[in-house]
């Protein structure tokens, strides 16, 4: 019946059912979320606007019934649920967990990198003590390890099924799992028509939480954004994931459908200057730009007011360690011109401003506004749209874009985690080529440090202070994840991985 089938539209294509496989794209992570279980998960909390979000501070068991951290924090022991079974009826064992984790740290690429963020790097760290006991040994204790176990990469796969389909060339059964998930999660994949749709059907025997209310979920891929809007507005679909800010504002105003906008934790839309590019080596130039950016206009015309403003902060010495937090810049062309005049490029210069084609909905208006504003302080900006594939290469790998718009957001919600990726020389999202010994040292020190360590807060404050003063990355605003749903659709929860977790969703009978 229609009432227990939920129809979701997305604009992106799911290209694999296996998150560990290299080449699997971001939209495919939802399969890991919905069809597999992890050892741990987060609880949820209600936000000020009444919507629900996962709660970073509230770790909850998923496959693990309980867990135990050793005194030195370097041994983690998990007890698995007795009743947890894979879809084929086989009980979930510690061997499956070990096999799955081994797989994640061995296959390379993204899963390995993400596991490493939690200091999970080698198979030797994982041990299946017995069928129901699983142990992790860490080289050092880390506050990131447990949260990292909630990420979509830390899933537990039915190792027997997988091994049955493994071959010599493909010992980790990537070919098989790519098309055939083998999990214990709340939903199974009923069919997958590549480029068209993905259909989930409920796993009635799910052990790690309340069985889902919805029988089937159809994820339809609709590339045209306006078609997606028309569909949700006409009521032909229940849920539209990740809608543009403009639609969010307008749909909310129209009131026919529910719109939920959640600021994305640990995520910033930033204007990055590349320090390999000569003019940007001058801090004055970077600050001048930070004072020239029309934050307000960008927030209104590119973000349509969705998200959190990140300019006009009170002081250049941060008081809190909250991340992200507003930088003390706001548009002040006088100041900007003055700074330019003092800088080594008083006569201005020309620079291309690049952005990712796939992000054009916010990046393009933003870039246009920045182009215009920088023109006023003598920086001639030309715009450069970079197609998706190319973007990663030039922006993040080669790091060769002089001036560009970037939108990194860390899954693990701590400032040091963000700084690790975005401010430390050589790391992927440091597309500014920013190199600051002090920040690097501070990150090193704080990355694994517990947040209640007394040294933690001052270090973080110092980090932020440097970032404010040096501004290699100029924060524009903290974006929101916007979704729209029909009035009868409830139970939506925001997750840091920005995938739709269909497990708690319900459809009210009407």
């Amino acid at each position: 019946a229609r009432n227990d089938t939920l129809v979701v539209v997305t604009g992106t294509t799911i290209n694999s059912l296996d998150i560990h496989r290299s080449g699997t794209n971001r939209p495919s992570y939802q399969v890991a979320v919905n069809c597999y279980d992890r050892l741990l998960t987060f609880g949820h909390k209600q936000l000020e606007d009444g919507s629900f979000s996962y709660d970073y501070d509230n770790l909850q068991p998923e496959l693990a019934e309980s867990w135990d951290v050793s005194e030195d924090g370097r041994t983690l022991t998990f007890k698995l649920r007795d009743n947890a079974r894979f879809w084929d009826g086989k009980p979930v064992t510690a061997h499956d967990v070990k096999w799955s984790f081994d797989r994640a740290v061995t296959l390379g690429g993204f899963p390995t990198a993400q596991m490493a963020a939690g200091s999970l790097e080698e198979p030797e760290q994982f041990e299946a003590v017995d069928d129901k006991t699983f142990r992790i040994r860490l080289p050092h204790s880390s506050k990131l390890t447990l949260p990292d176990l909630t990420t979509p990469v830390a899933i537990v796969i039915n190792s027997e099924v997988a091994k049955a389909h493994a071959t010599d060339q493909d010992p980790w059964a990537t070919e098989y799992l790519h098309r055939n998930p083998a999990g214990s999660g709340a939903f199974k994949v009923e069919r997958w028509d590549s480029g068209q749709q993905l259909v989930y059907s409920r796993n009635d025997d799910w052990a790690c939480g309340p069985v889902a209310k919805i029988q089937r979920v159809i994820i339809r891929e609709i590339p045209s954004q306006s078609t997606r809007r028309a569909l949700i507005e006409r009521g032909d679909v229940h849920f539209s994931q990740n809608i543009p800010a403009k639609d969010a504002r307008e749909l909310e105003a129209a009131g026919k459908v529910k719109v939920v906008s959640t600021p994305i934790e640990n995520c910033l839309h930033v204007l990055c200057t590349n320090l390999n590019f000569e003019p940007f080596q001058d801090k004055k130039v970077r600050q001048a730009i930070a004072y020239a950016v029309p934050y307000e206009a960008i927030f209104n015309n590119a973000a349509y007011g969705r998200g959190v403003s990140m300019w006009g902060g009170d002081s250049s010495k941060p008081e809190s360690i909250a991340w992200p937090q507003p930088f003390p810049y706001s548009q002040d062309l006088e100041k900007a011109r003055a700074l330019m005049a003092e800088s080594s490029h008083a006569d201005g210069f020309s620079v291309p401003l690049s952005f990712d084609l796939g992000q054009a909905d916010w990046a393009e208006p933003t870039a246009l506004l920045i182009q215009e504003a920088l023109g006023k302080i003598g920086i001639k900006v030309s715009l450069n749209k970079v197609p998706g594939a190319n973007w990663r290469t030039v922006a993040l790998v080669e790091k060769s874009l002089p001036l560009h718009l970037e939108n990194f957001g860390g899954w693990l919600n701590t400032p040091d985690y963000y700084f690790y990726w975005a401010y430390v020389k050589g790391n992927l999202f440091n597309s500014s080529n920013y190199d600051n010994k002090e920040i690097a040292g501070l990150v090193d020190e704080t990355l694994y440090m517990a947040q209640d360590d007394p040294k933690y807060a001052p270090n973080i404050r110092r980090m932020i202070e440097i970032a404010i003063d040096d501004v290699p990355r100029i924060p524009l605003y903290q974006p929101s994840l916007n979704v729209a749903m029909q009035q009868n659709t409830t139970g939506y929860e925001y997750w840091y991985h920005r995938q739709l977790d269909v497990r708690p969703l319900t459809l009210k009978q009407d």
């Binding site: 290209n15 990198a113 590549s194 306006s226 006409r234 998706g388 790998v397």
Partner: protein
């Protein structure tokens, strides 16, 4: 006695002619993909991949080898019928092509049917009344069709017929969510559903087809109508039309059996061109209507430098083109007895 082998030879000659074209296509598509910016290894490695894992993937994809080596490897794969795996969709290119090509063909075919059904009568009407206001009106109408970008027409039609009026089903691809796709026989949903005896699904599939097909069809009206008009005008001036009229044949017979059949040849040529043209325009229409066709696939593949997918797409298109030309030739020989008999 002489005729059949001569025509057969004509077809054979055509096939031979296709060989250099196919070779050309293979080379061009290979070079084109390698010229694309972006590094598939980087893309493939996914977010947060390290330098060495990218390098590892590059090696495993064979991208570290020199271009000629890559080319020969590619040709070798091709000869083994191996089209490779698409990195953007994670499916073997061959699978993608076999599921998506029918979708595109169904759409294009339907669009052309629509276009022919509208453009040919308009062309004939215009040709029988040259320079009258009807003629001008026809010209105006068909030109208007080709004056707007397809994606604009498509979105405008969606807005009007789906969003405002609600007459058209949701533009969500080939079939509404309520229906299951019919068992695969030809890959054309309407036909498959009919074969299955499932008229309800056939109707639903047809309903999904209408808007995109009209969008695409509008774009192809002009060349067909223009060619029909020109060819009809020329034929109608012919002496044999006068003979037929003088022999007292009815206007209908003169117009259709005598004039139109003669005028149809250049129209068929145009149709062939329009078909390949429409397959290109498909790219945009498919995007608007979430049509899981080969065109939208190609766009995505191109944007992410998905070599195998782009090459597979181009190759299948080239084959289609060759087949299409053969079909046209065969139609020609069926319609025109003179063919192959003189030079």
């Amino acid at each position: 006695m002489v005729r059949v082998p001569k025509r057969l030879r004509l077809v054979g000659y055509r096939l031979l002619q296709a060989i250099p074209v196919l070779i050309g296509i293979v080379v061009v598509s290979f070079l084109l993909t390698r010229a694309l910016p972006g590094d598939p290894a980087v893309y493939f490695a996914g977010p947060a991949a390290s330098e060495e894992s990218i390098e590892q993937i590059r090696v495993s994809m064979g991208l570290d080898r020199s271009l000629p080596v890559q080319f020969f490897a590619y040709v070798g794969d091709l000869l083994r019928g191996e089209l490779g795996q698409s990195i953007s969709t994670g499916q073997p290119v061959l699978t993608e092509l076999t599921t998506r090509l029918p979708a595109s063909l169904e759409l294009t075919g339907f669009a052309l049917l629509f276009s022919i059904a509208v453009a040919m009568p308009l062309g004939i009407l215009a040709a029988t009344r040259p320079n009258s206001w009807i003629d001008h009106l026809c010209r105006f109408v068909v030109t208007a069709g080709v004056s707007l970008p397809t994606f604009f027409t498509g979105l405008a039609l969606v807005y009007l017929f789906y969003f405002l009026l609600g007459w058209s089903p949701a533009p969500m691809g080939r079939l509404d969510i309520l229906y299951l796709s019919p068992p695969h026989v030809t890959g054309f949903y309407v036909i498959d559903a009919l074969i299955d005896g499932d008229f309800e699904t056939a109707r639903a599939a047809l309903a999904q087809l209408i808007l995109p097909a009209v969008t695409l069809g509008l774009f192809t009206l002009a060349p067909i109508a223009r060619m029909t008009r020109a060819a009809m005008l020329q034929v109608l001036e012919g002496d044999f039309i006068r003979t037929a009229r003088a022999a007292g044949l009815s206007g209908h017979k003169v117009l259709y059996t005598y004039a139109l059949r003669n005028a149809i040849l250049p129209v068929i040529t145009t149709l062939g061109m329009v078909f390949s043209f429409a397959l290109g325009a498909n790219v945009l229409v498919e995007k608007v209507f979430a049509w899981p066709g080969i065109g939208s696939y190609a766009v995505e593949a191109l944007v992410v430098s998905d070599y195998a997918a782009v090459q597979g797409f181009v190759l299948s298109m080239a084959l289609l083109f060759v087949i299409l030309n053969l079909l046209i030739d065969v139609t020609y020989t069926l319609v025109d007895p003179r063919l192959g008999m003189e030079d």
